[in-house]
Structure formats: C-alpha cells, structure tokens
Amino acid sequence: MRLLVLCTDAYGGHGGIALYTRDLIEALASHPRVDEVVAIPRVIRGALETPPPNVTFVAGAARNAAAYFAAVARYARRPFDLVVCAHVNLLPVARMLRRKTLLMIYGIEAWKPARRGAALVDGVDGVASISEITCDRFLNWSRYRGPSFLIPNAIHLERYAMRERSAALAARWGLGDGARVLLTLGRIVAAERYKGFDEVIEVLPSLPDDVVYLAAGSGSDLPRLVAKTRALGVAGRVVFTGHIDEREKTDVYNLADVYVMPSRGEGFGFVFLEALACGVPCIGSRHDGGREALRGGELGLLIDPSSQAELRTAIADVLAEGRREIPPGLAYFAYPNFESRVHSTLDELT
C-alpha cells in the first residue's frame, strides 16, 4: 500500500500540528501493509528530523508555492491507495487528485466552515479528528456524514521526565526557592487570546504573594499582557519567558507546581500531556478540547474558563495538595496507542 500525505508542516516544523503530523507519518509508515509514505510539506522552518526509511519526505516542495504544486503534480501521476490531507486548508489540492481521501482535523480551523472549499469536505472518504469536540463542531456545519475516527495526540513518554527544578532556569527567571509556579505555554498573539493567559493574570491578585506565573511563549500580544500585569499590580509576579527552546521544554515544565490553561479554543491541548508527563498537575477548560486531554477530569481539574472563582479555587486546591506524579491514565495517549488507532483507521478505510 502506498500513501500520500499532504501536510502544512511535519519534519522541520514547529508546533503542535507539525509534531502530530510527524507522529502520524511514522504511524502510517509502520503499518504492516504500507510500503511507502510520500509526504509533501507546505513549509519547513528548521532542521529536518530523520523520517523512517519507507517515508519519502519531499523537502523541496517547501521552497515556495510553485515548488509545492510541482511536487504535487509530479506525485499525482503515481498510484496511491489513500491521500491523507493533513489540514483542511490543503483540501482543494487533495481533492484535485481524485483519490480516496482521509481528512485530518484538529481545532479552530475545523470548527467553522472552511474559507476555501467548504463543500469539498462532503466528498472525503474519512475524517479523523484529534478530539470529539472538534469532530462534533465540524459535523455541525459540514454535510459530511461518512466514517469519522478519533485519533488524539500522542505523547512519547520517554522524551519527558519528572525531575527537580532546573537551578539555571530558576535563576534565569528569578524564581526563588519558595516560589510556587503557575505555568502556561503557548503563543501570545491576538488571534490566540483564547489560550487563557489573561484569565490567569487576572486571578493572580487573589492568590498568595508567593504564587508566580510563568507565561511561556512569545508573540505580538505581549505588550498588552505586560500592561495588564502592571494595571493589576502583579508585574513582579509574572515572568514572560519569550520563545521556549524545545531542548529546554522538559526543564520548563518541571519548574511548575501547576500547569494551568483556562482556554476556549484548544482543539485538544497537547501541552497538558507534556506537563503530565513531567508530573505537573494540570488545570484545563471544560469548554474546549482540553477536557479530552485531561480525560474528562481523570487526569486533571476542569473548570469553566469564564469563572474566576473556579480558576482561583482550582489553583488553590492543587497548590495546597502539592502532589506531583505522572498519572497512570496518561498511558492512554502513549505513542503505541496512537499508532494502534492510526492502523485501525487505515484498516477501515483501505
């Protein structure tokens, strides 16, 4: 069996979708009936990781739009058993290939009708979603009524660990020994205000003075948040870390006493899995995919992100409990289970 994956980014990519797509490609490639996976990326931002031997990663397609379409045209002439369209924005390209197509959906890009080719979703042969909430919201606007599959994010547990706070990072960001640290990781841009940075900052004044907030990320909305911390009198308790290097991520998580993200726009919330894999207790939202990353409350506390009282109380309760552990239930998202779900999906479609 030969599979074609059209993706925005994967190897050499940053962020959740790139990571998910790398895992997806590798899981597809490991299926016993798969001979080859060809992956054509739209962008490459950094150094390329090494794909499995039976994966052809067409890095040249990411040079520019012309190179991308040339690569698609070249591979369109070859036989493929399935096209995996790894983002709804690429569906117009995927549908031109007139092959059996599996569409991957993640979050806000699928919660409302696609800007381009909303009608194109009608004709796909399968839809795989990282969360039930994304699938449900997608089915509400689309006319698609074919098979749907749930394939949540995978966590490679071996890449994370629960360990002592990094003295170097603590010193870098001025975290004293007695500081109790709240952490949120994410892009700080206006389009992603749904992440919940505002909500955590707003509740900080009602928490004890030794509670500090590590807002880990960068982006154009930073000045607004900085101004908010000053207006609320908590500027000395909020650290804006800037961009986090992947190599430091585990140490960053291990600085935290609580990972908190009272969001409204997460399709899933992979960051929760990362935090849990470092033994950090989590607080997420009941109103987006975060509730599925925390397995309906089994792996963490779920709150109404619009309620300051619930957020404050949840933070206080978790800090008071002071417990760190890697919950056994996290294994539900371990990569082997992800791989198994991908294989089942492939078996059903081909």
Binding site: R137, N140, A190, G265, S307
Partner: protein, 587 residues
C-alpha cells in the same frame, strides 16, 4: 425549594427571638414547602431559623431544614437549588469532608465552612440562604446572581429578620406595615416595585448577587459577587472568542450545559411550552440531553380560541412533532374570577404581572409536577424585545435636540411630553417600560406621598446605576437594563410567588450567571441574531414554521376578562394596576 426565615437578636438589648413569631413567619410560607417544615432556636434564643420544604433533591428527611452540622457549629436555611452540588460535594470529599446526606443544603454548609464567604462565587443555581455560624456568632446571608430566589430583610437596629416573602415577615407581627411611598411610586411607574425598595418601609430586599454578614454590630455592607453590567463589560474584552465557533453550535453547547444543571432533581422535571422559540428550543434541547422530552404544559385562554392569539394549537403541533407529552390547559374567565382572592393573597408585592405564571403553574401542579423549566430570560438574553430597537433609537433621536423636541410633539401617546427624558439610556428605558409617568402619581397616591415617593425612588438615577460599569454597547446596555429591571423586579419575582403558591418550583435555564458570562462575547458580537441561532441550535433545528412566526407576547386577556377601562394603552395595564393596588392595599 422552600420558604425560609431567619431571626437574629444581634444587639444585647434586643429581646430574645420569639418562637411564636418564627413559627408564624414560617407557617405563612407553607404553600412554598408542603413536604416538611420546622424551626430551630439557638440554646440562648438569640437566633432562630425556620423553613418549609418542597423536596426536590434528596427526598429523605436527611434533606430537611433547618439543617445543622454534627457539631452544632453551623445551621442553615436555604431556598433554591444548587445545581452543581455534586461537583462541589466531590471537591469537598477530596479535601476530606464527610457528608451525612445527599442534600445540596449540606453542601452549602460545608462549603461555607471550608471557603468562607467566597463560597458563594462557586455556586451555580438559584438560591437565598442564611447560615448561622455559632463559632463566630454571626449570620451569613446570600442571594443568587440574578435574584431568581427572593429574600427580604427587616432590621430595626437590634433584631435582624429575614424571610422569603414580604408577607411572611409581616405575619410575624413585629414588622411595621407602613407603606413605602417610594415603593408605591415605583409600582405605578414600572408595574412592579423596583429594588432596593419593597412596598413596605420596614422591609428591604437582599440585593441580587450579593452576600453580607450580621453580627453584634449589625449588618455588614453587602459584598457584590456578580453584576450583569460587569459581565457584559468583560465580554467586550473577549470579542475574539466570539468568533471561534459557529454561533448556533456554541449556543447549543452552553445552553445544553445549563440545562443539564437545571434538570438535576430527584423528581420529574416538566416544561412550560408556548409556541415561542425560547421554550420550544429548551424542550428540544432537553429531549437531546435526556433522550426524552419533558412533560409539557401549555395554556389556552377561552377568548383566544380560534384566533391568531391562541398559541395552543402551535404548541401542540410542535409537541407532536418532537414526541413530547403535552397538556393544553384551558383557562376561562370564570376560573380567573374564582381564583382572584387566592391570587391576590399569594401576590407578595403589587405587580401587574403574574397571571400567566399563576395558571401555568397551577396546570403543571395539577399534572403532578413539582418542577418545571421555563423559557423566561430568553428575550432579555437574545434581545428579542422591541426595547432593543426602540431604546437605542430614542437615545439617538434625542442626541439631536431639535429632533427630540419634534418627536415629542408628533407622538400621540401619554408619554410624548416626556420624550426628551430619553436623551439618557436610563430615561429612554423608562420611557419604553414605564407604565404611568411622574405627573400621573398625585391623583393615585396623594400629592405628598407622590412627591416623597418620587424623590426617594429617584428612578432614573437607580436605572442608570444598573449600567455601572458601562456594558459598552447599545445591546449590552438594553440587555442589562431588561435583566436587572423588568426581569428581576417583575418576571422573576412574579414567577417565584405565583409558582410557589402551587408548590411548584420553576427553573430558568436561560437565567444563569455562568451562562451569561460564557455567552457575553457572542451576544455582544451578534446581538439579536442570537435568537435565530438559538432556534437553529437543536438537532434538528426548530421547524421553520415555528422559527419564522412573528413574536407574540403571552396574552392573558385581562382587559376582556376584567372589563378594564380604556386608559390610553392597548393592554389597559394602567387600569389593571389600579385594580391591583386597590386589592393589595385593602387586603
């Protein structure tokens, strides 16, 4: 759901709490709670609590009130429902608390013990409660965000008294009955007595969305934990969130969540069903949430049968289409007249409303229901009243003074000469909702009472204070005013006494502090379009014939039935107000 009473002789010089008074107050509320009742007096007789219970959650005697903890440190009376009591209980259990019952009343008590006064911010429900804290020798009192459940207090500077109804407080015999001119003026100006007044000088309502303590020094200043205006103002900062999800989908998710809270009960929950979008959508969403439609009750009035004003055939058709068991209850003039004495006896404060709820609650109780959900609040939430169009227009026109003056001259209604009041939002709202105008009150109340009443009432300032902080948009301002004026003072209050008179608990899934918080960004972004999205939210959406019919009000044919005099209005509510006043003050 209950009637509650709390007495606290907080000054040393105050006489001890009189058990007879406590029992008289509690007994007056028997229809609110026919299932059980009782009183509790502290060993030193300085504090007394009373309750009548309508058993809805934990039907066993374990849920009876007044309730005390095992150590005798905390004692509580509570009217209402805490819909998230299971989650709150689970949290407290994780923290080591052991419960003796499955009652939400006990959860309230233990939550107070653990979290103190901030516990009220965690509650989802409708409630009014008083907790006697024997350790601190103080009483903690609170009322829900919107004021769905009532609580009235009388404080003579030595003894604090509280009860679920004004008439119950008076039944104790120790609270003065002097009519408050401000309350009387407010009734004639607006059709109900606007908070912070009641019809009696000695009695005041506990402000919605607040809590306070009573200790040896008296009542503390109330602490506000919820504000409709502030919720809208905050929603403006979150506009980007409004656009993440298709509006009908977001409405569906959040209203279903609210419904799931509001359907928590150990008895069947029915529904009031008209042919309106709000009640129909709630019934459809309930069917999805519970995999079964609720038992529905619809009113029909004899003089409406066969006319466009008759909603019953449409409600019946909708119920058939979605498989909901439904009863249409015909109400005749004869029944209205026969019920009037009981109706006015139950009417806790003068109001021009309440008749619809009286009869639909009566019908629901006759069908064996103890709980019903209502679509009240949908018009305020989704901007369906004409006020959402008319109030901003009045403000706009008056912003150009010559236009305002011209409009005042060409208008042909009793309010025309007051039109320029509408240059402020408060004035424009009063023009829209006002029943009588200030100049009309002297013949109704007497000149001195009218003057004093208007001065103390200071209605426009009070209306304006509801817009602090400024919700920021015309929609937000009108929505805030409708929720905190008309809905709070009239619809919710009248829903309470008129349903409780039939021992029926009415629940209001669209009147929910958390729901407004969650929806505020969308409401501000989409305004009155949200009503359409709401009708589209069930799967399948409401049928087009229902969604597209013009909005009708609930037409209790009072004018016809009561032979009301022409009064310059189409509804003759001014005449009805005079009838109500006459019956109330003479009763």
């Amino acid at each position: 759901m209950c009637g509650i009473a709390a007495l606290f002789a907080y000054r040393d010089a105050a006489p001890p709490v009189d058990r007879g008074e406590l029992e008289a107050i509690t007994e007056r509320m028997r229809p609110r709670g026919p299932d059980a009742g009782g009183t509790w007096l502290s060993p030193d007789a300085r504090t007394g609590l009373g309750a009548r219970r309508l058993a809805i959650i934990d039907l066993s005697p374990d849920g009876d009130q007044p309730m005390s903890d095992a150590a005798g440190e905390l004692h509580i009376v509570f009217n209402g429902e805490i819909y998230n009591h299971a989650a709150l209980r689970a949290r407290l259990q994780r923290l080591g608390v052991r419960f003796r019952s499955m009652s939400d009343t006990e959860v309230l008590m233990e939550l107070y013990r653990h979290d103190g006064e901030r516990m009220i911010e965690l509650l989802r429900g409708m409630y009014a409660f008083a907790i006697w804290d024997a350790r601190e020798r103080r009483m903690f009192v609170g009322r829900d965000a919107y004021g769905i459940k009532p609580l009235y207090v009388a404080d003579d500077g030595a003894t604090f008294r509280a009860a679920s109804t004004v008439k119950a407080l008076l039944a104790g015999g120790r609270v003065g009955r002097a009519v408050d001119p401000a309350g009387a003026a407010g009734f004639f100006l607006t059709g109900s007595v606007p908070e912070p007044f009641t019809i009696f000088e000695a009695v005041k309502p506990v402000a919605a969305g607040t809590s306070f303590f009573v200790d040896g020094r008296g009542l503390s200043a109330p602490r506000r934990f919820y504000s409709v205006a502030a919720t809208f103002a905050r929603g403006r900062d979150q506009e980007t969130i409004a656009d993440l999800v298709t509006p009908s989908v977001l409405l569906r998710e959040l209203v279903v969540e609210s419904l799931q809270y509001h359907l928590v009960a150990d008895v069947p929950v029915g529904a009031f069903l008209s042919a309106g979008i709000d009640s129909s959508t709630l019934v459809a969403l309930t069917r999805e949430a519970k995999h079964a439609a609720p038992r529905c009750v619809t009113l029909q009035f004899d003089v409406h049968r066969g006319t466009d004003a008759d909603e019953a055939p449409l409600a019946e058709r909708f119920a058939r289409e979605i498989g909901a068991p439904q009863t249409t209850r015909l109400v005749t003039r004869e029944e209205m007249l026969a019920d009037l004495p009981r109706f006015f006896d139950a009417m806790d404060q003068p109001t021009i409303d309440g008749t619809n709820t009286w009869f639909v609650s009566k019908a629901a109780a006759e069908s064996g229901l103890k709980v019903a959900i209502s679509g009240v609040g949908g018009d305020e939430l989704f901007g369906s009243y004409p006020s959402f169009r008319d109030v901003p227009r009045t403000v706009r026109v008056n912003r150009v003074p010559p236009l305002g003056a011209v409009a005042a001259r060409v208008m042909r209604n009793p309010k025309a000469r007051y039109f320029t009041l509408g240059r402020t939002w408060a004035g424009a709202y009063f023009l829209k909702r006002g029943l009588f105008m200030p100049g009309d009150l002297a013949p109704l109340l007497g000149r001195d009472a009218a003057e004093e009443g208007l001065q103390r009432l200071d209605l426009l300032r009070r209306i304006a204070s509801a817009l602090d902080p400024d919700p920021g948009t015309p929609f937000g301002r009108v929505a805030t005013l409708e929720a905190t004026m008309y809905m709070r003072n009239q619809l919710l209050r009248d829903t309470d006494w008129a349903s409780m008179a039939h021992s029926l608990e009415v629940r209001t899934p669209l009147v929910h502090g958390a729901l407004l918080r969650q929806l505020a960004p969308l409401l501000l972004a989409k305004g009155a379009e949200c009503k359409r999205y709401f009708g589209e939210s069930p799967r399948p959406p409401l049928p087009e014939w229902l969604r597209n019919r013009p909005k009708h009000g609930f037409g209790v044919p009072l004018a016809q039935w009561m032979g009301l005099e022409a009064d310059g209005t189409s509804t003759r509510m001014r005449s009805w107000a005079k009838v109500v006043w006459e019956r109330y003050v003479s009763g």
